[in-house]
């Protein structure tokens, strides 16, 4: 089968050309290499965030808070591009809730405005406020939180009481600790936490500045160690890389699954369309920092760069190699053009949201009831993502991947694994 494929593609090429049509193994290897680069970049930028946070805690000032915010924003650029690896790769999917869980009931972590309300039907801990409480009861047991450590956050508090909205760790917990709640509703402006929330002595606002600093440091240290772990999974000999390379067909299914599931159910559905339909500014993915336009943009870019097999690192270096696009082009050149066109259309639509937001039309404003222009912008992105999913599905058929999930051992054991 493989040799037949090779012969067929070799026929179409000039003899002696160095560049043969890609084979699956090369495509998978490049897919893993790009993952490694993306997670390394996420790690590098998280380490910069870590030093900025340390500086803020040591020398609290408006300037140092701003530097930490800037570092957080920069760290989102590579991380969002990794999200295309999430679905399909079990190792990533099981892990990602630690670093990018959302939405969160932020009252678990720190003080919130009175309008936030107290514990809700769904979540008794929605207003727990760990920063203010060195000891509290959780599922009937007393928790000692005198010292806020990475272990306390990861092992005891994250998803406490089995509730996903109890997000104690990751980018969005850190985002809340840097920006605070966005109380502007549909108006302009992000969260406006004063730098004095980290000030020492009597300059401290909203109390417990030392504990707030402890929390911020614990969460940032945890993010760095979680990203270190994930980058290692994609390095040579790492488990995520090995898992992708183990079975060629299953590996290609993984790539396609990641592209399709992120595009459709997650980004078009959960993150974008739902916000428009609910007109709820809290349905913004990066709601504290008002960075949602970038989150969406770089998610989309991740899907595109996995298809094309090329990624620009945070230092400007280009990582590129054989890609799914090559396999598709060899099987059906028209379908490859269709896929590229649709990915480009989506990026144009997501780019429009980003451009509008950067020039002052905030994502919260786009979500407001009756804001037709905002709705059109967001729905442009949604439509592009849904439309590209149809082509991704066609790739499954064209590359004859349809039945693979019945053959692969992993999915036989767990039929939901492949398309979840």
């Amino acid at each position: 089968m493989k040799s037949l494929f090779f012969a067929a593609t070799a026929l179409g090429l000039t003899m002696g050309t160095a560049v043969l049509a890609a084979n699956k193994a090369d495509v998978l290897s490049n897919y893993a290499t790009i993952a490694e680069a993306k997670y390394q970049d996420s790690l590098i930028t998280a380490q910069l965030l870590q030093s900025a946070v340390n500086k803020l805690i040591a020398n609290p000032s408006a300037e140092n808070l701003q530097l930490a915010k800037d570092a957080w924003l920069a760290s989102r650029v590579p991380y969002q591009q990794t999200e295309v690896y999430r679905f399909g790769n079990a190792i990533v999917d099981e892990w990602e809730g630690k670093v990018n869980a959302w939405p969160l009931d932020e009252g678990l972590i720190d003080y919130v405005d009175a309008s936030y309300g107290g514990p809700s039907d769904e979540n008794e801990l929605a207003a727990l406020n760990i920063v203010a409480n060195p000891s509290f009861t959780l599922s009937g047991k007393t928790v000692d939180a005198v010292k806020i450590t990475p272990q306390l956050l990861a092992d005891t508090l994250h998803e406490a009481d089995g509730i996903e909205a109890n997000v104690a760790t990751g980018y969005h917990a850190i985002e809340f600790l840097l920006w605070g709640q966005d109380l502007n509703g549909h108006g302009i402006g992000a969260g406006n936490r004063p730098w004095t929330d980290y000030a020492k002595g009597e300059n401290c606002t909203h109390d417990n500045c030392d504990r707030r600093g402890q929390y911020l440091k614990a969460a940032t240290d945890l993010l760095v160690s979680d990203l270190e772990w994930m980058a290692a999974q994609w390095a040579d000999g790492g488990a995520a890389r090995a898992s992708v390379l183990e079975d060629e067909n299953a590996g290609i299914v993984t790539i396609v699954t990641g592209m399709g599931s992120l595009s459709y159910g997650e980004q078009a559905g959960e993150r974008m369309r739902l916000g428009v339909m609910l007109n709820d500014p809290e349905e913004e993915h990066d709601c504290f920092s008002d960075n949602t336009h970038n989150s969406h943009y770089y998610d989309g870019l991740g899907v595109q760069n996995v298809y094309l097999g090329e990624y620009v690192r945070v230092n400007g270096e280009l990582v590129s190699g054989p890609a799914l696009a090559d396999l598709v082009a060899a099987a059906d050149a028209d379908l490859d053009v269709e896929m590229r066109t649709k990915l480009a259309t989506t990026m144009m639509a997501l780019g429009r949201i980003k451009t509008a937001a950067e020039s002052g039309f905030a994502y919260d404003q786009m979500l407001e009831r009756g804001n037709a222009a905002g709705e059109a912008l967001i729905m442009g992105g949604v439509d592009g993502l849904i439309d590209q999913t149809r082509s991704i599905q066609r790739i499954t058929a064209t590359l004859k991947l349809d039945n693979i999930d019945f053959e692969g051992s992993d999915s036989l054991d767990n039929p939901n694994a492949v398309f979840h």
């Binding site: 809290e282 039929p415 398309f419």
Partner: protein
Amino acid sequence: MFRTFALSLALVLSAPVLADQASKILDELVLPGFADLATSSAVMADVAQADCTAASEPLRVAYATAFDAWIGVSHLRFGPTETENRGFALAFWPDSRSSTPKTLSALIASQDPVVDDTEAFRSVSIAGRGFYALEYLLYDDRLNALGDESYRCALVQAIARDIADTSHAMNRDWLVRYADEMRTPRKGGVYQTRDEVLQELYKALDTGLQINSDLRLGRPLGTFDRPRPRRAEAWRSGRSLRHVQISLERVHALAGLLAAGNAQLSQVLDVKFETALRKVDALDDPDFAGVATPAGHFRVEALQQVINDIHTEVTHSLGPELGVSVGFNSLDGD
């Protein structure tokens, strides 16, 4: 060897059945289902016009009939249901952040005049529209006493009218356009091949099974130590179990027509669906409050297990039989 032969024979025999399978599903299940939804929603809107009080028996009956009709087609989340977010406008659930009571409370508190304008009402948050919002207004003790009575009345009428309009739009779409798209796949159409049509219908079956197992049963089940009865669907109106029953019956019919080319598989599925429906009959726990007790939890879990078992059979047997897989669905994601 023998198995291979038997399989290929089955494929040959099933070929003509496959050819009009989609049409049969459209004519017997899809089109009547959406027609029923459109009619019963229109009746509900008229009844609400005449009597909008929460305790109104005629209104509650009309509401139940229309909601039944929606549940019967709620797994068909594509095409006319997906267009203009209509499915969400009819049915925003689960609502894990309590957006529905918040949105309704805000409308009532501000006496938002949006209820007086049918067109404008379509721009209201989906959390304030559809069957689940109406359930709060008819059955929630806090909301059906909140604020000004005449405003609440206008809100009930606006939601009922909006449901009727949305249902009508879906039904019209099916009749004038979408049924034909599915009957005649073509290059440049919504579906390019017959396989893509079958995949869509197969996906709907898969979605229906998943919604019943993961959401309708899985949410109230929580874990054994931490059951969550208040996460059950439509528990205020005591419709939680009823929804599972209606949905399973419709999903069973869809599975039957999709498996029509393989008598043996068809029979296997029949037995499993009948087992599930017998368990539903025996459950006697309309709002799943029983999950809070060990015995009740166990019984609901047993039902969930049968549905998972059907799902496994569908994935491993029916999918390959039809030569399609689930592809991507809207339940992917968080």
